[in-house]
């Protein structure tokens, strides 16, 4: 089984966001970057699909700056076979341009399954997977939390409001992964050593300008710290009164 996993280098979820002096981007000074957590589930699922098939290849593809090579090495250390970096000068907000760049790389490469995280935890765009599918005219299931593939056909479960949708689809397909699908493995020392020798191709890429112009990136208004109503269960009656009479939410 030939599997592609599209991944992204993102700021760690514990990052305190500081706005750069241009007022439009993140100040990256001191920020730790990681493999997007939702993409970890995609890498893990790709490895499991290959292991189950007993044969095949897991190719990791990232669009991003030169530093994203480290992110690809993380996925290679988990067990992916080779990496491709579509190297760009910074990333812009238009997910369709990202999808076009990835689709151009994925097209006609004979992948049975193309996996992506359901979204990146930085831009929250939540769109690149199904856009790639549309551009390649492939079926797509997003936010997959359970997956079975047997003989060229797949069944997936995805969470919807108030329930779970069970979805059937044929391969090849694009799938985006949600938390809960699997427990991603930690790269072992052996894997980390091996990853250094695995092929990583760097291809300069220039996505189009897109049709979105960033006007500003700002911090949300600070919430005013409220009041401590009191201690222990004795404070409950006063809390309920405040919620009714002051906040008017009950």
């Amino acid at each position: 089984m030939k599997i592609a996993v599209c991944i992204k280098r993102v700021p760690d979820s514990e990052t305190r966001v500081k706005i750069a002096s241009d007022g439009k981007s993140l100040d990256e000074a001191g920020v730790k970057f990681i493999l997007n957590p939702y993409d970890e589930f995609a890498v893990e699922e790709g490895l499991r699909l290959k292991e189950k098939a007993g044969t095949g290849e897991v190719v990791v593809i990232a669009l991003g700056p030169a530093a994203a090579q480290e992110t690809i090495r993380t996925a290679l250390a988990m067990g992916a076979d080779r990496g491709v970096l579509l190297q760009t000068q910074g990333l812009h907000p238009d997910g369709l341009e990202t999808a076009k760049a990835l689709a151009a790389e994925l097209k006609d490469a004979g992948f049975d399954v193309i996996l992506l995280g359901k979204m990146a935890i930085d831009d929250y765009n939540h769109q690149v997977g199904p856009m790639v599918a549309e551009l390649l005219d492939l079926p797509c299931v997003t936010t997959v939390a359970h997956l079975e593939i047997v003989g060229g056909k797949g069944t997936a479960e995805r969470e919807i409001e108030g329930g779970v949708e069970v979805v059937a689809f044929p391969l090849p397909a694009v799938l985006t992964t949600d938390k809960g699908l699997n427990e991603p493995r930690y790269p072992a020392l052996k894997g980390i050593m091996a990853a250094k020798k695995k092929p990583l191709e760097v291809k300069p890429t220039a996505p189009g300008p897109g049709a979105l112009e960033i006007l500003s990136l700002t911090l949300p208004p600070e919430r005013q710290a409220g009041k401590i109503v009191g201690e222990g269960s004795a404070a409950v009656a006063e809390l309920v009164r405040l919620l009714r009479e002051e906040a008017k939410v009950l």
């Binding site: 993140l26 369709l96 939540h126 997003t142 969470e159 108030g162 911090l219 409220g226 401590i228 222990g232």
Partner: protein, 326 residues
């Protein structure tokens, strides 16, 4: 500008509540663009849909139901094709979706099909000099990104619970048309419904969330009782720590690798308030924190706090809420 198309959702032949928010948001955008901009509401279904006649009240000039035998359940490819064809045929200036489970799957497909960018999960929309300007939370709400969209159609999805439905009576003229085509290759074979009355944390008007302070997964029954006391208006959420520990399903997680929620009332119980959790709930209207540690960061964002043992405070609160609904 040309008219705005609001793409609505139905389940089991009835309009989903979030659809009224979509019509409200579409109307707000239409009015910001220019006085004469119309709003068409679009429903995909197998036949007439319950609640369609009320959409005029929220600002729909026309309500168009596209019928197809394959449109009973969500069909990503069939829906995307029908919507994109409609947008191309009628030359809409903007298309508005809900950023729901379905909308976040469907809107990107429609956008890519139309070769247009998608501004997903927005919390505000306005217009200046005929161009649409949308605001959306990024970094799980730690920052707000404001973008201007060049050209059209402009494709947006609206974060649930943000565009509170507003009565804006318009004609709401009902039309129906059959469309050809199949569901596509991706078929919903079954919906496993959550137990009756269970609300999704992203959609519930009240969320009661628990963290490590609960000490044991079985103790979540204390929070379930509190949620139940709100008479069907509350959902139980969870912190990342307890989801990672396997105490609660991922569907319940609030925070940067879970859901971002904006309920009217958020009650954080035994949650210290890690930055990634705060990011997911900071836009709640009113936040209540119950924690035994008076220095817990959660108190810095809470409107009201009680310092104390949650196993004493929460049952007492449950009693008081029950009295209100009794």
């Amino acid at each position: 500008m040309s008219n705005v198309l609001a793409v609505l959702e139905q389940r089991d032949g009835a309009i989903r509540k979030v659809s009224y928010e979509v019509v409200t948001g579409a109307r707000r955008l239409a009015d910001a663009l220019s006085g004469g901009t119309g709003v068409d509401a679009l429903i995909l279904a197998t036949g007439p849909v319950q609640g369609a006649d009320q959409l005029g009240g929220f600002g729909a000039d026309r309500v168009v139901t596209l019928t197809n035998a394959a449109f009973g359940s969500y069909a990503p490819e069939g829906y995307a094709r029908a919507i994109a064809d409609r947008v191309n045929a009628d030359g809409y200036g903007a298309v508005v979706f809900a950023a729901s489970a379905t909308g976040k799957d469907l809107a990107p497909r429609v956008a890519a099909r139309l070769g247009r960018p998608l501004v997903q999960d927005i919390t505000d929309v306005t217009a200046a000099a005929g161009a649409v300007i949308a605001t959306r939370p990024v970094y799980a709400g730690k920052a707000l990104l404001k973008v201007r969209v060049a050209g059209g159609p402009v494709i947006l999805s609206l974060r649930p619970n943000v565009f509170t439905p507003v009565q804006r009576p318009k004609a709401g003229a009902q039309e129906s048309a059959g469309v050809d085509g199949s569901a596509g290759r991706v078929i919903v074979t079954q919906i496993k419904a959550a137990p009756a009355g269970t609300l999704d944390v992203a959609e519930a008007p009240i969320v009661v969330s628990g963290g490590r302070g609960l000490k044991d997964p079985a103790n979540f029954k204390v929070l379930e009782a509190l949620a139940a006391a709100f008479a069907g208006r509350a959902a139980v959420g969870a912190s990342r720590a307890v989801v990672d520990a396997g105490w609660r399903p991922h569907a319940d997680q609030v925070g940067q690798t879970g859901k971002t929620v904006s309920p009217t009332l958020y009650v954080a119980v035994g949650i210290s308030g890690a930055i990634q959790h705060l990011a997911g709930m900071r836009t709640s209207k009113v936040i209540v924190a119950i924690n035994k540690d008076k220095d817990a960061p959660i108190f810095k964002v809470a409107d009201y706090g009680i310092v104390g043992d949650l196993f004493e405070v929460v049952p007492r609160l449950t009693e008081e809420i029950r009295k209100l609904h009794g």
